[in-house]
């Protein structure tokens, strides 16, 4: 099963990358605000069962893919609601 993990800087955490992106977009004439830059990790997991797969990816996030002190994460599974 295909899994996608979205990792974001937690709200309130200074995100200088997001600020730089925002200021560049503004220079291009896009009136944007509050840009935040995170990370995407695509994975192939063995389990075909969505619950098992999700639980496994959650453990991956807690142990490596995200630093829970500064980052939040969201898991998307292919074909899962």
């Amino acid at each position: 099963m295909r899994a996608t993990v979205l990792v974001r800087p937690k709200p309130g955490i200074l995100d200088p990358q997001g600020q730089a992106v925002e200021s560049s977009l503004r220079q291009l004439g896009f009136p944007v605000g509050d840009a935040r830059v995170g990370r995407v990790v695509d994975l192939e997991v063995e389990s075909a069962d969505p619950d098992t797969a999700r639980a496994e990816v959650e453990r991956m996030c807690e142990q490596l893919l995200a630093n829970p002190l500064i980052e939040s994460y969201e898991i998307e599974l292919e074909g899962a609601p």
Partner: protein, 233 residues
């Protein structure tokens, strides 16, 4: 006498680049400094450990996030749990935070710029092995060189660390946006310290400052005490 020159291991990861500077500085301060390879599952007989600066594993994912899985790091964690003194410098600090041996996390500098210059640090605590040679409140001039040295802790964690006296060094002029100007912290047991500045680059008048010798000298002294204890057992 073996206890006269305590042995201190400097762990080199792929991408470390200050390991030799650290070895040389420790030797000049009276230690028998030995390189340790990241893939080694066991440490040699050492009385102190330095995790040096650099860009271990290319800083992939997050700085220090991959290095913490190196076989040598399991041995370092056991050494620390046994009370052994461990000093993480720059990337070494990032690794110790990722490994959960030190509190907080390091984020990209607020300026997004790599900063490379001497900075002034205020010694907040001298009740750690690493700052025992400093005067309370002493200003230390030590260089920094990092792109991700913005130390972060949320309000609750910061309050806890302040109350425990775990904030050891602060920047006089914050160069990276770190919370509460924090430049260096210790663990609750006070035998593991991390700092972004590079004491190994400030041990010789030719380098502009010898203040780094106070930090590394403190580690050498702690390692000497530990080897005397282990010899007498």
């Amino acid at each position: 006498m073996s206890e006269a020159r305590p042995r201190i291991g400097v762990v080199a990861f792929p991408g470390s680049n200050d390991d030799r500077d650290a070895l040389r500085a420790l030797e000049s301060l009276g230690a028998d400094a030995v390189p340790v390879w990241h893939a080694d599952e066991r440490l040699p007989e050492v009385a102190g450990i330095v995790l040096p600066g650099g860009f271990s594993y290319g800083d992939y994912l997050r700085c220090g996030a991959i290095a913490r899985f190196a076989p040598a790091m399991r041995a370092v964690a056991e050494f620390a749990a046994d009370g052994g003194p461990v000093l993480g410098i720059c990337n070494g600090f990032q690794i110790l935070c990722e490994a959960g041996l030190l509190p907080g996390a390091l984020r990209p500098n607020a300026s997004l710029s790599f900063v490379c210059r001497d900075v002034d640090l205020r010694t907040e605590r001298t009740d750690t092995p690493f700052t025992a040679l400093c005067e309370p409140g002493q200003t230390l001039t030590i260089p920094i060189k990092h792109g991700e040295g913005c130390w972060f802790a949320d309000d609750r964690l910061l309050a806890e660390l302040e109350a425990n006296g775990q904030i050891v060094l602060r920047y006089e002029n914050n160069p990276n946006g770190s919370v509460a100007d924090v430049a260096g912290v210790v663990n609750a047991e006070r035998n593991v310290m991390g700092l972004m500045p590079h004491p190994e680059h400030a041990v010789d008048p030719l380098l502009g400052s010898t203040d780094g010798a106070l930090i590394l000298g403190g580690l050498v002294a702690a390692a000497r005490d530990r080897s005397v204890v282990s010899v007498s057992v």
